[in-house]
Structure formats: structure tokens, C-alpha cells
């Protein structure tokens, strides 16, 4: 920790600009993720869910009964849509241009999120890989646990600026930094 981290002026960030060096608590913005909306036809909910969990290099996020978002940082939306084409009863719409993917991590992550997400994120209540639609910074989005101290947030594109700014504000007391990830 540098001298400036220990003796920060109240206007430090506003005068010198926010630091982009990664801190322990960090908010990463995925530059071009693939995010697909998937609905299951009536009676096919279980088989579609199983097929979605079997897709490699992508993770399904639970939105509601018979509805998921399939998220990938490495595959293109076209590639994923092709992979889903064979799943019987799955209705797929590419949402990549309409959604933004954020990843927030660090030892204080739950303290930060407790200020703007009303979901119990204790590991016993919200296990690894679990996801839920919820209000995130007063706006509807999806939150998923991707590590012990790491969560992924999917938010509609038009709300992304507001959610991003509020997350930074909530994380400021914990030195939350941010950058883009590929």
C-alpha cells in the first residue's frame, strides 16, 4: 500500500483521477461477452436445463421458471446459438448487445453488495454457481456466485452506467477499482 493509500485526501480521486491499478476489491467489465436468453417450451424445462448445464465454456444463469441467460466470455454468440440449436424445446435469442456483464470480487465483496442487493449471499444460502434475478442498485438484473468472494452481474445495457456508478460508490470505502477484461 502506497503513501497515498494511507493518507488519501478526500478529493484524491476527483483531482488525480481514479486508479486503474487492480486492488483487492475489484470490478471487472467484460468487453464482449456472449449473453443469450433461453426459454424452454412447456414440458421441456428439465431437459433444457440439463442441456444448458452441459454446454462447455458457458454458464446458465437462472432467471425464473423455464428461463435462463447463457453467459460466455470465450465463445461468440453465433457459436453458442449453433450449439443450442440442437436442444429440443429451447428457444434462443441473442442478447449480447443488450446486456452488460460485470464481475465484482474481493474480501469485501459481500459487504459492498449487501448495500445494493437484497439477496442473502452467504455461501450456505447462495452456493457456488447459483444465480438469481434481483434488484441490483435499484434496477433489475441477474447476480451469480462465481467464486468464494466473486460474483457476476448481468444488467441491461441501458442501466449499465447507473449500476456501474452505484457499485463504484458502494465500493469506494473498500478501495474498489475497475477495469475492462477481454
Amino acid at each position: 500500500m502506497s503513501f497515498h493509500d494511507l493518507y488519501r485526501h478526500v478529493l484524491e480521486d476527483l483531482v488525480t483521477g481514479f486508479s486503474t491499478d487492480r486492488n483487492a476489491n475489484h470490478l471487472a467489465v467484460a468487453r464482449r461477452p456472449a449473453i443469450l436468453s433461453v426459454l424452454a417450451a412447456a414440458g421441456q424445462e428439465t431437459s433444457v436445463a440439463e442441456a444448458l448445464h452441459a454446454v462447455e465454456n458457458a454458464a446458465p444463469r437462472f432467471c425464473g421458471p423455464s428461463e435462463w441467460l447463457l453467459v460466455s466470455r470465450t465463445l461468440s454468440a453465433e457459436h453458442l446459438a449453433d450449439a443450442l440449436f440442437d436442444i429440443r424445446g429451447a428457444l434462443v435469442v441473442d442478447q449480447s448487445e443488450g446486456k452488460v456483464l460485470l464481475s465484482i470480487s474481493g474480501p469485501a465483496v459481500r459487504t459492498v453488495l449487501a448495500k445494493c442487493v437484497a439477496v442473502d449471499l452467504h455461501p450456505e444460502a447462495f452456493a457456488m454457481g447459483q444465480s438469481a434475478n434481483a434488484l441490483i442498485c435499484h434496477l433489475p438484473g441477474n447476480i451469480a456466485r462465481t467464486g468464494d468472494d466473486e460474483f457476476e452481474i448481468v444488467t441491461p445495457r441501458s442501466f449499465a452506467v447507473s449500476v456501474f456508478e452505484e457499485l463504484l460508490e458502494m465500493g469506494r470505502e473498500h478501495g474498489l477499482t475497475r477495469n475492462f477484461t477481454e
Partner: protein, 93 residues
């Protein structure tokens, strides 16, 4: 008002995630029912004090319609069911 609602799909959430439509009790008349029946179904409500069933929409969560069985005087919630299941159970009766 009950401030925590346990959605059968999403778990316990604050009321801010929901929007409330109104009483779930009135049954939709048949299309050929008399005008008086339709008038009663569309416009007339009992406005009870105490326990009753109400339609809630989980707007910021699963976006499903729910039926919340609650007491509007004591704020106690007795149960929450998916509106589709509620309707199926009513038809089955």
C-alpha cells in the same frame, strides 16, 4: 404492508421487487355471462380488513405472477403460490 415476500421461485425478497395488482379472489365469469356479473368482476371489490389473497407480480425477479395470502392488518404472510398453480388448483376443485 408485508415487507418481505418469499417467492416460490426466488426466495425471500423485499416488497420493492414486486408490484401489486389486487384481489386474487374474484373468479372470471364466462364470456357469455350477464353484464351484471362482468360489472361485478371488473369493478366491485370488498376491500376487506384482515386476511385475503392478492395478485403480486415479481417484476424485478422471476417476473411470475404470484398469489400472496396475507393479512393486511397484521402484515403476516401465510403463503405464496405461483398464480398458475393457484388457478389450476381452483379449476380442479
Amino acid at each position: 404492508m408485508a415487507s418481505l415476500i418469499t417467492c416460490p421461485h426466488c426466495g425471500t425478497r423485499p416488497k420493492e421487487e414486486f408490484s401489486i395488482r389486487g384481489a386474487a379472489g374474484p373468479e372470471r365469469p364466462s364470456p357469455t355471462a350477464r353484464d351484471e356479473d362482468w360489472h361485478r368482476y371488473v369493478y366491485v371489490r370488498d376491500n376487506p380488513k384482515g386476511r385475503y389473497q392478492e395478485h403480486w407480480h415479481h417484476v424485478a425477479g422471476c417476473r411470475r405472477w404470484l398469489v400472496v395470502d396475507r393479512d393486511n392488518l397484521s402484515h403476516e404472510v401465510f403463503g405464496v403460490t405461483d398464480a398458475a398453480e393457484f388457478e389450476r388448483a381452483r379449476v380442479a376443485k
